[in-house]
């Protein structure tokens, strides 16, 4: 690993200034669970390291039933797991956190880091997508809000401009009747990426699907919402055939590749089966 200059800005403005000054030579340090590995592997060689953790306020969680949830980019998975409002109102986010890594990783890995690394298989993406999170971004200009679906630009590419820093997420309070889950398919129960990840949030009424959200991870260059499958289900009567058809639709919307973890065909099969199971589980 190559050496670098190291900064611990105390305010966000200073971090932005450093980022603008040092451009592509600089990297932001949150938990470091991705960055450190990339650096040790020689994939990333920053000359300037900007540690964000001394900036106050980036690791806070706050909730109000009207306002929704505010979660700082530096909130670690362990902190998220111990949050009462998240437990009660965003159970799928909690479920997701419990499936990430292991205790050592969860103690330092952050939700912002997970999104900014922008892996197509980012575990936190499906849950954030079905909860329709808004990403709060600070930078040299005004603070801006980017919907979670638009934050991913490609494989490990985040839609942030030079000098911009993701500071957190705003997530509206889900409808009380909506239920969902995140199904992560991986060979190991810990310390593994999903081969396919499916997040589902469903609201039903009188035996019909009202509002369905389906998000898929690891089956496209970015995490995606299966909008055609969602539209297919909206207003339809809840029955097994319908759910199977929706799952097939979701598989058609996915664009998985064959890589060392699984073949394209296997992933398509998983999307079909897991989407079906996730919807069934959500309406049970």
């Amino acid at each position: 690993m190559e050496n670098f200059e190291y900064f611990e800005p105390k305010i966000l403005k200073e971090a932005v200034r450093l980022l603008v000054k040092y451009k592509r030579g600089a990297r932001l340090l949150a938990g470091g669970t991705d960055l450190m590995i990339e650096m040790k592997g020689g994939y990333v060689k920053p000359k300037y390291m900007i540690n964000l953790k001394k900036i106050k306020g980036l690791d806070k969680i706050s909730f109000g039933k009207k306002e929704g949830l505010s979660i700082g980019a530096l909130v670690t998975w362990s902190t998220l797991l111990s949050s009462k409002p998240i437990h009660q109102y965003y159970p799928i986010l909690r479920e997701t956190a419990s499936l990430i890594g292991c205790p050592q990783i969860r103690n330092i890995g952050t939700i912002g880091g997970n999104i900014c690394h922008a892996s197509p298989s980012a575990d936190s993406a499906p849950a954030l997508m079905i909860y329709e999170a808004q990403c709060v971004v600070a930078g040299p200009g005004r603070e801006r809000i980017i919907p979670i679906e638009e934050i991913f630009a490609g494989v490990q590419k985040i839609s942030l401009k030079q000098g911009e820093i993701l500071t957190g997420f705003h997530i509206p309070t889900p409808e009380t009747e909506s239920k969902g889950c995140y199904l992560k398919f991986s060979p190991r129960k810990a310390m593994d990426l999903p081969i396919v990840g499916v997040g589902v949030l469903v609201r039903t009424s009188n035996g019909t699907f009202q509002d369905v959200r389906i998000a898929l991870g690891a089956v496209a260059p970015t995490p995606i919402r299966a909008k055609k499958a969602e539209r297919f289900l909206s207003g339809k009567t809840i029955d097994d055939d319908t759910i199977r058809k929706a799952a097939e639709e979701a598989a058609n919307e996915s664009k998985p590749i064959t890589d060392m973890r699984a073949s394209r065909e296997y992933r398509l099969g998983l999307v079909k089966e897991l989407t079906y199971r996730a919807i069934k589980q959500s309406i049970a």
């Binding site: 340090l29 450190m36 390291m49 292991c102 205790p103 990783i105 103690n107």
Partner: protein, 163 residues
């Protein structure tokens, strides 16, 4: 400047060091402080062999920069035995055959300690979750889980007796 001055509290003692910014906490522990109980295995945050307790939480010290640990309290495996007497977790690992090559052991024991400090009465599932970041190539984990469960029982009975 590519070096920084740091102060870290390791096993109860403060140390002031000047380190290259890129140096990991693991390397400082092993090379600067000569505490080699913490193992360097995968060196990429995957195996847990480098597990230490930092500010009360288990972390993989190979992916924590020493500069990032500035001002923090670190516990390594060396701190578990006191005045030559082994910690109950260490004793149970020995008597229950939970050690073969011994490389994963320091990390396993610290993960167990962090668990029992938070949750003195864990279920088997909770023990397995607590060590899910600690890789063992030798034992098959069963004896490790049993050792942690018996250590938990021992520690509970010690506390119950108010000793």
């Amino acid at each position: 400047m590519k070096t920084s001055k740091i102060k870290i509290k390791v096993n109860g003692e403060w140390h002031e060091l000047t380190v290259p910014n890129k140096k990991t906490l693991l390397d400082v522990i092993r090379e600067d402080l000569h505490l080699t109980g913490t193992k360097k295995m995968c060196d990429t945050g995957e195996c847990g062999g480098c597990t230490v307790i930092m500010d009360g939480m288990v972390v993989n010290s190979c992916i924590v920069l020493a500069v990032d640990a500035n001002g923090k309290e670190i516990t390594t495996i060396e701190n578990l035995s006191q005045i030559g007497k082994l910690h109950p977790i260490q004793e149970e690992f020995i008597t229950r055959g939970a050690i073969q090559c011994g490389f994963c052991t320091p990390g396993m024991i610290l993960s167990a300690k962090a668990l029992l400090d938070q949750n003195p009465n864990p279920t088997e599932l909770e023990v397995k979750a607590a060590i899910s970041g600690n890789f063992c190539r030798c034992t098959g984990y069963v004896r490790i889980v049993n050792a942690i469960l018996s250590a938990a029982e021992r520690l509970r009975s010690v506390n119950d007796e108010g000793i």
